[in-house]
């Protein structure tokens, strides 16, 4: 069965330990969010999953066939047109030029890019367009695991909502597994079935301290539901502690609760 499995991974850079005893699974079609404050090792964990780093100890097994990644910055090749950037992954897979151009164009138009923008170079496009292209580049290779490293954090709320919708539509129709890193709780509530909370208090190595699951299908997650559950999360002691927020006088919901 295709699954991403991280088993008791510990990661060190030189003498400093950034991650300790991380255990995590992402099953096929599942959407998992890693949330936590800046500097807790979220991005390092994602890079480990992407195979960009070997773990210091522990093991990472990916049964997925094809992994694609969207980074915090668009990371487009400045010397390639928007179209060629979208088709980069396809070119790497050895798809013939004509077919990959056709496929990339089709995908780009579906994602709200205009036809004449596709011949432009990244520096001629707005930040929102660049993010769209980065997302299209990931979709183009038809991945069964999508790794997202805060790809929407620099966008305005309208654009963010639009790209959220594109992502949800793509991931649910193709049953793509998603592992995303974010520090935006609302984004996590909207886009994931499972939220893992990471914390790294006082320069200690980052670890997963808490998790919560949401069963409600994405189609039924309206704004009111998202706000309500985000507010609930923010009232949780573990979350407040991880983000160094002052505790509130509310009852602890316990280690694991299920939202309606």
């Amino acid at each position: 069965m295709s699954m991403l499995e991280v088993r008791t991974v510990t990661q060190r850079y030189g003498v400093s330990e950034v991650l300790r005893d991380i255990d995590l699974q992402v099953r096929a079609g599942e959407s998992v969010a890693l949330v936590g404050p800046s500097g807790c090792g979220k991005t390092t964990l994602l890079n480990l999953c992407a195979g960009l780093l070997p773990p210091t100890t522990g093991g990472i097994n990916s049964g997925f066939e094809r992994t694609a990644c969207v980074f915090q910055q668009p990371r487009l090749l400045p010397w390639k047109s928007a179209l060629d950037n979208i088709a980069l992954g396809l070119k790497a897979l050895g798809t013939p030029a004509g077919e990959r151009a056709r496929h990339a164009r089709e995908l780009a138009l579906r994602m709200g890019l205009a036809g004449d923008d596709l011949d432009k170079y990244p520096h001629q496009l707005s930040g929102g367009m660049q993010s769209r292209i980065a997302l299209a580049r990931a979709f183009a290779v038809a991945p069964d695991l999508l790794l997202l490293d805060e790809p929407f954090s620099a966008l305005d709320i309208g654009l963010k909502a639009e790209l959220h919708a594109l992502l949800l539509e793509y991931a649910t129709t193709r049953r793509t597994a998603v592992l995303m890193v974010t520090h935006d709780l609302m984004e996590a509530v909207r886009l994931s079935q499972r939220i893992l909370l990471m914390s790294a208090p006082e320069h200690a190595p980052g670890r997963i301290v808490w998790q919560v699951e949401f069963d409600r299908p994405f189609a039924r997650r309206d704004d009111a539901w998202v706000y309500h559950n985000t507010a609930q999360l923010l009232a949780t002691a573990q979350v407040r502690h991880a983000f160094s927020l002052a505790p509130v006088a509310s009852p602890d919901t316990g280690g694991l609760y299920r939202a309606a």
Partner: protein, 264 residues
Amino acid sequence: MKLLRAWLVGIPAYLWSGWGAMASLLMLVALWEWGSQVFGALVLPAPVEALRTLAELIASGAAWPELAATARRALTGYAASIIAGSVLGLIAGLSVTASMTSRPIVTVLMGTPPIAWLVLALLWFGAGDATPVFTVFIACFPLVFLGAMQGARTLDNQLRDMAVVFGVPRRMMLTDVYLPHVISYLLPAWTAALGMSWKIAVMAELLSTSDGVGAALAVSRSHLDSAATMAWITAVMTLLLGVEYLLLEPLKREVERWRDQVAT
């Protein structure tokens, strides 16, 4: 192929944009004319005079062998310097140790006056082609080397990581991710080195050979023939402008189209 077609389509517009350069060069010629009127034809011959002398040199067949000799030496030294400079510079740039070690050496090479290299070359190789070629090579090499090293040092790790995640194969990594970046550092260095190679070649010929533009300049100096001097200078400048603006600059524009599409 697409590159070639875009290049061909762009030629007329590019050539037309040469009028601006022509206007400023003609103003320089006007200044030259003024100088010759103020200081007299013996000091600075009029542009028309120099052009006439040049036309005579070309008509009599005297110009081409000299220009060809200078071009041969300049381009041989230049070619050697860009090949060696680019390859070694890139290798040095990929290793922090190598770039740390080579930087002071290159600074020393850069700082050494070309005339010093010329004297050494005369001692080592005597009169003949080897002396100007070596001088050109050693003067241009550090320039290209530094450009290549800088290009390799500034490769973007984020883009590399992105390419790795998308499973970009090694060969494509080179052509699609590394080379376009490195070229944008190499081309300016190559252009600068080209201009330098001509200057150095002519200077070296003045002292070391019996043919070439440098040698012809030595002869016209001994005859106090300022018209011929300016004619030779004009010829070399024209050739240099031709090579740079017809060959290197269009190439640079095409390769760096992604940087800035708004032509000025």
